[in-house]
Amino acid sequence: MLRVNNIEVIYSNVVLVLRGVSLEVREGQIVTILGANGAGKTTTLQAISGLLLSQEGEITRGSIELGDTRIDHRPAEDIVQLGIIQVLEGRRLFGHLTVEENLAIGAVARGHNRRMIAEDLEQVYRYFPRLKDIHRRISGYLSGGEQQMLVIGRGLMARPKLMLLDEPSIGLAPLLVQDIFQAINQINKESGIPILLVEQNAKIALEVADYAYVMETGRIVLDGPADQLAENEDIKEFYLGLTQVGERKSYRDVKHYKRRKRWLG
């Protein structure tokens, strides 16, 4: 349903961050993009969601299609109206609004009426019962896990056709990461919303995803069904931190600093 065809992105007219990225998300799939910091994962999401424009970025080549419509060079608001919802990195929420107000924003932005908002709230509370308990709390005081639930819930309120999730696990405890990914999986399986997931935590991402792409310095270097990639030797070594024999390498075994002579005085 979503096709990114060979796009190139330039920031502030000088910095080339994406050099020909192509990828595809099919109906009902969870697709993940893995890669190091600065590889261009977030930029890819922003190119799709139209947020590049507000970051002084520009798609200079290639195209992005949702179904049969081209959506590159459209502003972010229009793309949301088409049903592509991006959940930004870092659990960003409207800290001075209540939980329920935060959720409502997701629907208000798509012009839903009060009845639709009430229906959708029920659905979000079904996925995240914790949010119902705290629906009147000021969201700035929530814990990291609750905030992550809230921002995903806000995305759901917009009745998305496709969700883009940017690093939902960042800075979360292992247990919470599992909870969040379980919820992501459940949302995908029950409501069939396809999800494009950008993630540092390669292990868990490969567990839930159907298909995965690996990015390095603005290029897709590897792609394939998630279960196959999880068995790939390079992925094992560089993304899962395992040694040749499958043992984890210890951080204590890295080379150390040697003091050098300084020549300036």
């Binding site: 991006q86 930004l88 960003r92 409207f94 924003i105 208000v108």
Partner: protein, 306 residues
């Protein structure tokens, strides 16, 4: 102290605080949606009053039609300011935005002088100036009951201001557009990513600010006459906004009334220097509040995270 004057000055002070609160509300309106403190609000006020004067006196239109036209023109000017001056500033630091509105205030003040000239003008009277309301109080001074004298236009300005505040306060708290504005003021990029049309929201809030400014300008001009120094009145509203904590509508109203009251109270004094301090009272009160309760009287404490 001239104690017998206290009730009179206190009450007039509070009533005078009504329009201050309304003007302050125009500031809060923009602040709540776009996190911009509009130093040019005084000039919007001035322009609103000047257009009303132009339509009603120069073009000899019906007064209410003139006000309506002025409101419409000012809403458009509000939109235009947002579109051409503030929108390019999206993402710039606080100082740049403060300076943009300061630069705007200078440019508009100069433009008003250039186009309309600097003379004092007669402004149409909306509320009759004579025939003040008289209230006989149970308080007694030198054998006579103290009688409070309230000018009609002062009372009605106050009433209009209060109505304006209630309408806008309700709009913010209970409508979906109001919610969208509150969200947008917190984080533009996030608001955009959720699909809020932030440009339209900024446009609406600047348009509304133009409307509120016009109403405020007309109310003030009808009681104190119209010349270019009208724009300075807003300087008394800045502290009112801060006393309220910058983003609280009830706080702003209380701040406006408090400032009106403080200005009324010092006039009771027999010491000339205290009596003459009415003009700086807003700022004296502000300094005291900043030192004692810096988040304002009603402001939310910011959540500081590191």
């Amino acid at each position: 102290m001239n104690w017998q004057l206290l009730p009179q000055f206190a009450l007039t002070g509070i009533l005078a605080g009504g329009p201050i609160a309304l003007i302050a509300l125009g500031l809060v309106l923009i602040f709540k949606s776009s996190y911009i403190f509009n130093f040019a609000q005084g000039q919007l006020l001035l322009l609103g009053a000047l257009f009303t004067w132009y339509f009603s006196i120069e073009l000899e239109l019906n007064l209410w039609l003139s006000i309506f036209l002025a409101v419409a023109v000012m809403a458009l000017i509000g939109f235009a300011i947002e579109r051409f001056a503030l929108r390019p500033m999206t993402g710039q630091p606080l100082l740049s935005i403060i300076l943009m509105t300061l630069g705007l205030s200078q440019a508009l003040q100069g433009l008003a002088l250039l186009v309309f000239g600097g003379a004092q003008r007669n402004f149409p009277q909306i509320f009759s100036a004579g025939d003040p309301y008289k209230i006989t109080t149970p308080l007694v001074h030198e054998g006579n009951n103290i009688i409070l004298i309230l000018k009609q236009n002062l009372v009605w300005s106050f009433v209009v201001a209060v109505i304006g505040v209630i309408i806008i306060g309700g709009f913010f708290q209970y409508t979906r557009t109001g919610l969208a504005m509150r969200a947008t003021s917190e984080d533009h990029e996030l608001a955009q990513s959720t699909g809020l049309r932030i440009r339209r929201i900024f446009g609406i809030s600047w348009g509304l600010a133009g409307v509120v400014a016009t109403v405020g300008g007309v109310l003030l001009a009808t009681s104190s006459g119209l010349d270019l120094s009208l724009s300075l009145v807003v300087l008394a509203a800045f502290p009112a906004v801060l006393l309220g904590g910058l983003d609280s509508i009830p706080g702003t109203v209380a701040g406006g009334l408090l400032i009106g009251l403080s200005q009324g109270l010092v006039k009771v004094s027999k010491v000339p220097i205290v009596r003459n301090s009415a003009e700086i009272m807003p700022y004296v009160v502000l300094m005291i509040v900043l030192l004692i309760r810096p988040e304002g009287l009603f402001g939310q404490k910011r959540i500081e995270r590191i």
